[in-house]
């Protein structure tokens, strides 16, 4: 079990308001790590820092260090293109590009200089179970897929690039229970190959999927988010010492 991401004392500001403060966090390989907690404590922002997509928003500034495989991703010699290939982000809303299913995957493969694109597209689609479902009809528009299929296409698009880490921002929140179940079993299968970090509002989902869990909370003294607790899932869910964690897990607060 090796360390993939190590976050040290990370502060994040939106304009001048602090989103979260002094965040320490560890992500281990080949595990599913869940981040739970109420809205507004910076869970999604945290994900977007890990592949530096947050750089695109000029209102966001940050302090602290994030080590990916031992190297600081904020240092000037970090290759952004390479980082985003290795650390894939999957958005909350299924977001296929307005292209064909094939091109959705092939476009990024071409950018990163892969060869044998056709077979990689096929493999990625098979990995997420779409190849058989679509019966190989991948020339049609990705926008015509169902919600669950779109989200699986987005996952396929990311894993085609052979990343190390999958970041998922509430990937099932806009999906029906059946699609959710398909995605969940897919993630359990994928954790053998990737390290997975998933933000979820759904505690039951976190219990079903996660090996490790971190809980974020809004600290009203700081007026910002913080990490309350982090550990193996069974330990966190059995937590009794921290009243806020208890109440949140029991559904009393949240």
């Amino acid at each position: 079990m090796s360390l993939v991401f190590e976050v040290k004392k990370l502060d994040l500001f939106y304009q001048k308001k602090c989103v979260f403060c002094k965040l320490d966090f560890k992500l281990y390989s080949n595990k599913i790590t869940g981040i739970i907690g109420p809205s507004g404590c910076g869970k999604s922002s945290f994900l977007s820092v890990l592949n530096r997509l947050s750089d695109l928003n000029p209102d966001i500034t940050r302090n602290g260090h994030v080590l990916f495989q031992g190297k600081d991703i904020f240092s000037s010699d970090c290759e952004l293109k390479e980082l985003r290939k290795k650390v894939a982000l999957i958005f909350q809303e299924p977001s296929p590009l307005p292209l064909s299913i094939y091109d959705n995957i092939a476009l990024a493969l071409k950018e990163h200089g892969f060869s044998d694109i056709d077979s990689r597209v096929k493999k990625a689609l098979s990995d997420v179970g779409l190849w058989d479902e679509l019966e190989g009809d991948i020339g049609r528009s990705a926008l015509k897929l169902s919600g669950g299929q779109k989200q699986r296409l987005c996952i396929a698009r990311s894993i085609a690039l052979e990343p190390e880490v999958l970041l998922l921002d509430e990937p099932c929140s806009s999906l029906d229970p059946i699609s959710t179940e398909i995605i969940e079993s897919l993630l359990l299968k994928l954790k053998e190959r990737f390290s997975i970090l998933i933000v979820t509002h759904n505690l039951a989902q976190a219990k079903r999927l996660c090996d490790r869990v971190a809980m974020f909370w809004y600290n009203s003294d700081w007026q910002a988010g913080e990490k309350l607790i982090e550990g193996n899932a069974d330990e966190v869910f059995a937590e009794t010492k921290n009243q806020i964690v208890n109440d949140f897990l029991a559904g009393v607060r949240g």
């Binding site: 592949n51 952004l80 985003r84 982000l89 292209l99 476009l107 950018e111 049609r140 528009s141 015509k144």
Partner: protein
Amino acid sequence: MLIKINFSKIFATVFAGLVFLSMISILGDILVSAFEHLSLSFLLEDVESAGRKGGVFPVIVSTLLILMVCMLVVLPLGILTSIHLCKYHEKKSSLHFLIRKLIEVLSGVPSIVFGLFGNSFFSVILDMGFSILSGGLTLALMALPLFIYTFERGLSSVPQKDYLVGKSLGLSSWRIYKEIILPQATPSLIVASVLSIGRALAETAALIFTSGYVDRMPESLFDSGRALSVHIYDLAMNVPGGDRNAYNSAFVLMFLILSINAFFHLLHKFYLRKSKAVEEIS
């Protein structure tokens, strides 16, 4: 309330009718006056006797050359400026504010001022003289604000999310624009082009000072050339007995504008059908 609505309806109908009538009367006047004299030879013959006789072939060639120079400048410059303004849309830096304001001001500058500027800058300072090149460049300056204004609207309506998704996959901005954003903005690109071409073809004042009014066949882009609109102006105002051919030339200009519009309209339709096909093939 009810009476108010009726009034506004009547007003709207009357004014819409007036606009329609004035357009019909202009078109009708030109059509009726031109139709009895117009022949194919008018399109293919040289200008003779200051335009009283002969045709307008060299004038059509000059017009198209000027238009070509204009669009060769407007398209790349306009597309890139629009992308620049749109991509940093949310930043609201002072530079973008300045560019935006300048474009607004430029689109309100009278064409005669552009003509004077084009004359002193392109013709004199850059030593292009009275030439198709300096005329086309001056027209490009005039058409750019309109083009940018229209095309940037279209670009801004493409979901920002697509850009973000592209970036999250590590795509370069170049590829994101080329493969994802620009294809979605093609309809507005077509509209912006049509408007710019319309503005360029209609221009007279700016061209008199820059491309001049020599009516023989231009030998190169550095030669002076007479645009159709200039030709019409000259025939109507300066050449006694030129009225008939002024009408004929007006007809040719109108026909040119309409056919260019029709071409782009078909292109737009074709594009829509193609993009629909991508969405609906199943």
